[in-house]
């Protein structure tokens, strides 16, 4: 029992957030900059809200109206008591009551209207915010995604934005009306007795001090909580995606342990965020009570001295109470506001990530592409100290089929990545039709290329939709034609629902090889000038491969194509073979030429033959 009572106070405070002066290094979360951060975050949220300024004004009007009506109600009741109940009064009693009914109805109406309008505004705002965040994700450079867990990014689009959403729904109006009431009350108090008002306000500096103490802590805490939530989300997403491995290796316990660790972290940051932000209304209450005491005490002494009347004290106590309520409301809203700001900050963090270096100003739209490609002294490395590609130069004529050969990690896929401009060369240049690809709009460049990437990806949707991804305006007939060329039709038709069979995310339920067939169909449909097949047939059996070979050959006819493959059959039909090793272009030439060169390729070829001879 006692232990359970003490337990809550023994939760350790998130370590790196303790004390403002502890963190000596770059991360100086000085309160001042924090506040600036907030105001800029708030301003950005406001810029979204401001899009519906008209409606927002209407809401504000309704808030003013309903506040006025809310005051009018009690006043009318006072009138009723004075004029009708006590005095017996005239026959207009019925009219008076009707009037009261009208006031009440109007009050309900205005508060209803302000609510539903605000909801529309806030949900639209949230929608826009979410939409912009998502759109921005598609503008970010590919390396951004390599560094982050998917679930962590997902958390920003869902959890963080939901946090903002719930605040906008409920708190915005509350804050409006609280501020309004506050101003009204203070005005009346000032009119009644400036001296006592001043006394009431003696607690205000204390209030400010307390709030500062609290927000200094809760700001980082809420941020921390959202961060921890993101990490947890990332962990969940990752372990669920890898669930098959966890099962097969029976690592459930380890997965759970990792989960517990992150779960505990979020529990702690959440605990302290909620606890400390929970101090706010308590502090407000206490300070209010204190102001009561001050009014009663000092007012009492003043009254004894005859400086003021008892009546004024009583009225003042009432008003002090009035003064409290909106302040209390505000203080309560402060919690949700803080956590919303933390959410919004994380959203804007992503939005502030620099976009995939935007196209150069002079970048052009391509009208057409012949498919002549040249690499001129191209070097590139993912991290600076270790070049993945080193001084690569070659030329490709339109319509040529190029095979890229070399040991794993030689830089084949990287070369393709440069061509598609996921990355830009560190030095040297890549040209298409004689034009530096950096001077071509990315989208325009890519729209002339079709890729079958190493890891095939299928969307949740029908098979038809998945193939049509290659060219959106393709007719059903064209989709099926492409599937036939890729030799995917037999297995599609064997499935219940055929082309309309719905596939799951990642296409679970069909085999890897079948996924590759669909990916090839997709590329066939795209009808590109440049075709890139990166291990496109690695999971397809050789018999099927021969069947689609014909389709692929037809596809490659008249197009420039790059093929990465390990199977010699695939490679041998290439016009030219580029042999890569350790990021260098070792040899190039046709199959026969390379064999004659007696170099690395011959070695490679021989080793494969030797194996066959077994």
């Amino acid at each position: 029992m006692l232990k359970a009572l003490i337990e809550p106070f023994r939760n350790p405070y998130p370590r790196h957030l303790t004390g403002e002066s502890v963190s000596g290094k770059g991360d100086t979360g000085k309160p001042k900059t924090k506040v600036q951060n907030w105001s800029s975050t708030l301003r950005r949220v406001w810029s979204y809200l401001a899009l519906r300024k008209g409606k927002l004004m209407l809401v504000l009007l309704m808030v003013v109206l309903s506040s006025a009506l809310a005051l009018l109600g009690p006043y009318l009741i006072g009138v009723a008591v004075d004029d009708y109940l006590e005095g017996g009064g005239g026959q207009d009693w019925v009219y008076f009551l009707i009037g009261l009914a009208v006031v009440y109805t109007l009050f309900s109406l205005t508060s209803w209207l302000q609510n539903i309008w605000m909801i529309e505004i806030s949900q639209e705002t949230i929608y826009r915010l979410r939409f912009d965040l998502f759109s921005h994700l598609h503008k970010l450079p590919i390396p951004f995604f390599g560094k982050r867990q998917q679930g962590e990014i997902m958390s920003r689009v869902t959890n963080d934005i939901e946090n903002v959403s719930s605040t906008l729904n409920s708190s915005a109006i509350q804050i409006f009306s609280s501020v309004l009431t506050l101003i009204g009350t203070v005005t009346v108090m000032l009119l009644l007795s400036p001296l006592l008002t001043l006394l009431t306000f003696t607690v205000v500096p204390l209030m400010a001090l307390g709030m500062r103490w609290i927000t200094r802590r809760t700001g980082p805490l809420f941020k921390q909580r959202q961060r921890n939530l993101g990490e947890l989300n990332g962990y969940i997403e990752e372990t669920l995606s890898g669930q098959r491995m966890i099962k097969a290796f029976s690592q459930e316990d380890r997965a759970i342990r990792g989960f517990q660790e992150r779960n505990e972290r979020i529990r702690l940051s959440g605990f302290w965020a909620l606890t400390i932000s929970g101090f706010i209304p308590k502090l407000m209450n206490a300070l209010n009570n204190m102001s009561f005491a001050i009014i009663a005490g000092i007012g009492g002494i003043l009254a004894i001295r005859g400086a003021i009347t008892v009546g004024i004290i009583i009225i003042f106590v009432e008003y002090a109470r009035q003064f409290t309520r909106p302040l209390n409301d505000l203080a309560n809203q402060w919690n949700t506001l803080l956590s919303a700001i933390a959410g919004a900050e994380r959203v804007f963090e992503v939005m502030d990530e620099p976009e995939e270096s935007s196209d150069e100003q002079a970048a052009v739209e391509l009208k057409q592409m012949d498919g002549a490609i040249a690499f001129e002294q191209v070097s590139f490395g993912y991290d600076n100290n270790r070049p993945t590609l080193n001084g690569i130069s070659f030329k490709v004529k339109p319509g040529e089929m190029i095979a890229l050969v070399g040991p794993t990690g030689a830089g084949k896929t990287t070369l393709i990545q440069l061509l598609s401009r996921f990355y830009d060369a560190d030095s040297g240049r890549v040209t298409v039709d004689g034009r530096d690809i950096r001077s071509i709009k990315r989208e325009s460049l890519r729209s002339y290329m079709a890729f079958v990437l190493q890891d095939t990806f299928l969307f949740k949707g029908t098979i038809r939709e998945n193939i049509r991804f290659g060219r959106l305006d393709a007719t059903d007939e064209e989709v099926e034609q492409a599937a036939r060329l890729a030799n995917a039709e037999p297995f599609i038709l064997r499935m219940k629902g055929g082309y309309d069979k719905v596939l799951d995310i990642g296409g679970s339920g069909i085999s890897q090889g079948q996924k590759q067939l669909l990916a090839i169909a997709r590329a066939i449909l795209a009808n590109p000038s440049i075709l890139v097949l990166d291990e496109a047939t690695s999971s397809i059996d050789t018999v099927t491969e021969i069947k689609i070979q014909e389709g692929l050959e037809r596809l490659m006819e008249g197009r420039t194509s790059f093929v990465i493959a390990h199977r010699l059959n695939t490679i041998r039909s290439a016009d030219r073979i580029l042999v890569l090793k350790d990021g260098r272009l070792l040899e190039q030439g046709s199959h026969d030429e390379l064999l004659r060169q007696n170099g690395f390729y011959r070695d490679l070829y021989a080793s494969q033959l030797r194996k066959m001879a077994l």
Binding site: E7, A101, Q123, F145, A286, A296, S539, D541
Partner: protein, 577 residues
């Protein structure tokens, strides 16, 4: 929702303490006017300054007490609600981990993610809010109504009369809102799903320049979320105006009848004023109600979604926990399929039909066959990721369903076709196969998997951080890393599902050579005859049927399809050589 409350039991002391503290705070608040009255009546009016000091002091002390209680309640409430969400989340995650793989596949991953985060948070919010604020509402409402009845029964009854319609309305509203929030959470799942898809497929989307489409799709999905959110919130936000209307009608009635009663003398003006005052106070307290309706119905919907997962049957996993490690003897690796037929839950097509074969410890088995012929499905039955519909899979002569899955899987090293790496260092990813592995063992496994040298050339060697899907490695490197991860388990049965497809010929040859040294039973799914030719047993699958088995030479003799595959790889090449 009630089920969720059972999670609060563990924190009942903190929860009760929080409520108690709130009560003390409330009491102080209520008694304050009394102290002030004392100051005025006994102090100021009597010109007795010592009384003013006395009661002023009491006021100060009680204020301090209220503050202390308030702060403490903050701790207790936060502790109880976060403890609850922690437990709930963990229970949920444990449950998900306990699902058999096929049960797991019934839930969409994005939906599980929302349930584990957003939904649990909703429940937590409700508990926190309840502990902090909810006590106030019923206390004030019941107190006010009672007081009104005491003051004047007839007029008080008018106030009571407003309660049933109010109650009916709130219940109706809450029910409806719960259903609608359920839908909203589903929409959130969908939004989550689209994001996940886009993140996984981001490269493909870029190269096919489909950003605009995907953004459009996201717009549509989150548009639906917006619409449904607006719909349900519009409903719940109507609560307060409606309650006000109802209660205000009550006040008008009180005034109307009150005036009549005053004229007949059965009520006094003071009584009418008092009842009106109590009504006003009730309204004030009820204004919180609409907000509570939102929080309550939303978290009820969330609680149901959490409960759905908790209530799902675990599949075989739970049963397995019971039979514990009765089969303590180490698995040797003899695998037998006895008339096995299998199909996935989601598709009605038989994936495997009537498969029978027998292998002995230490043998190398190559599985070959066309794309979609059932190779991957077959080997997934061995670690019991799925169970056969008919027939039995036996390891060391025992049906795998009788074996403890942890013991069984502990003896298996499985390398799936799809790249599955986890964010962490290279070393962590290899040691993921066996937690207690030493650095030497990690390096040994890496050496066997032909990846040691490559790792050495990485910027931080074994401590290089990998992204979630191992983005900074080439396809072949990832495959070898996964093989190392399987090898470090020193498995009795090693399963390679086309795990060498991205390897160049030399590396692959070196790897296979290395694998020959191992004493484990090895299943290799492959497309290459070169890998099958030295196998002890070749299984040739075609459309889910085992159409031939035997050694290379036998199959060359007996199987037309095998010869065709051979031709497809050797025919021309052989001629060239």
């Amino acid at each position: 929702m009630l089920k969720m409350l059972s999670f609060l039991y563990k924190y009942r002391i903190a929860a009760v303490a929080a409520l108690l503290m709130m009560l003390i705070e409330l009491t102080v608040e209520i008694t304050q006017p009394y102290f002030i009255a004392k100051i005025i009546d006994d102090g100021i009016r009597q010109d007795d300054i010592s009384v003013v000091w006395l009661w002023g002091g009491v006021l100060t002390v009680s204020t301090a007490l209220a503050f202390a209680c308030g702060i403490a309640s903050s701790f207790f409430a936060a502790h109880a609600s976060l403890g609850l969400s922690y437990d709930l989340r963990e229970k949920l995650y444990r449950k998900v981990q306990s699902f058999s793989y096929s049960v797991f596949n019934r839930f969409a991953a994005p939906s599980l993610i929302t349930r584990l985060t957003a939904d649990v948070n909703q429940v937590q919010d409700l508990v926190f809010m309840s502990l902090r604020f909810m006590t106030r509402v019923p206390l004030v409402v019941i107190g006010s109504i009672l007081m009104a009845l005491i003051v004047n029964v007839k007029l008080g009854l008018l106030l009571v009369l407003t309660v049933p319609p109010l109650f009916v309305f709130v219940v109706w509203m809450t029910r409806k809102a719960i259903r609608m929030f359920h839908l909203v959470q589903q929409r959130l799942d969908n939004v989550n799903g689209v994001i996940q898809e886009n993140l996984i497929g981001i490269r493909l989307i870029r190269v096919f320049v489909r950003m605009a489409n995907e953004i459009g799709r996201f717009g549509a999905t989150s548009g639906k979320l917006m619409q449904d959110s607006v719909r349900v919130l519009r409903l719940t936000e109507s609560t307060m105006p409606f309650i006000f209307l109802l209660m205000n009608a009550g006040i008008i009635a009180v005034l109307w009848f009150g005036r009549q009663d005053i004229s007949t003398g059965s009520a006094t003006v003071g009584e009418v004023v008092a009842v009106v005052n109590y009504s006003l106070r009730t309204i004030g307290a009820l204004s919180v109600l609409s907000w509570l309706v939102v929080v309550y119905s939303r978290s009820s919907a969330s609680a149901e979604r959490v409960q759905e997962v908790l209530a799902a049957e675990d599949g075989m996993e739970a049963a397995a926990a019971g039979q514990s490690a009765q089969n303590a003897c180490p698995i040797e690796g003899a695998v037998e399929f006895d008339k096995v037929s299998f199909e996935y839950e989601t598709s009605e097509l038989a994936v495997l039909s009537d498969i029978s074969f027998q292998t002995y410890p230490g043998e190398r088995i190559a599985i070959i066959g066309a794309t979609g012929s059932g190779k991957s499905s077959l080997i997934q039955l061995i670690p019991r990721l799925y169970e056969p519909r008919e027939g039995a899979v036996r390891v060391d002569g025992t049906d795998v369903r009788q074996l403890n899955p942890f013991a069984l899987r502990g003896a298996i090293g499985y390398v799936p076709q799809e790249i599955t790496l986890f964010s962490g260092t290279v070393r962590e990813n290899i040691a993921w196969g066996r937690e207690d592995a030493t650095m030497e063992e990690v390096m040994e496994a890496a050496r066997q998997a032909q990846i040691h040298e490559t790792i050495g050339s990485l910027s931080d060697g074994y401590h290089t951080m990998l992204g979630q899907r191992g983005v900074n490695l080439s396809g072949g490197q990832k495959q070898r890393l996964m093989i190392a991860r399987a090898l470090i388990r020193r498995p009795a049965i090693l399963i390679l599902d086309d795990s060498t497809s991205a390897l160049d010929v030399r590396t692959e040859a070196a790897l296979l050579e290395e694998l020959k040294m191992l004493s484990c039973t090895t299943f290799i799914i492959t497309q290459k005859i070169s890998s099958t030719s030295s196998a002890d047993l070749i299984l040739l699958l075609d459309e889910g049927r085992l159409i031939a088995q035997g050694k290379h030479e036998e199959l060359m003799q007996t199987s037309e399809l095998y010869r065709r595959i051979y031709q497809s790889q050797y025919g021309e090449v052989a001629a060239h050589a």
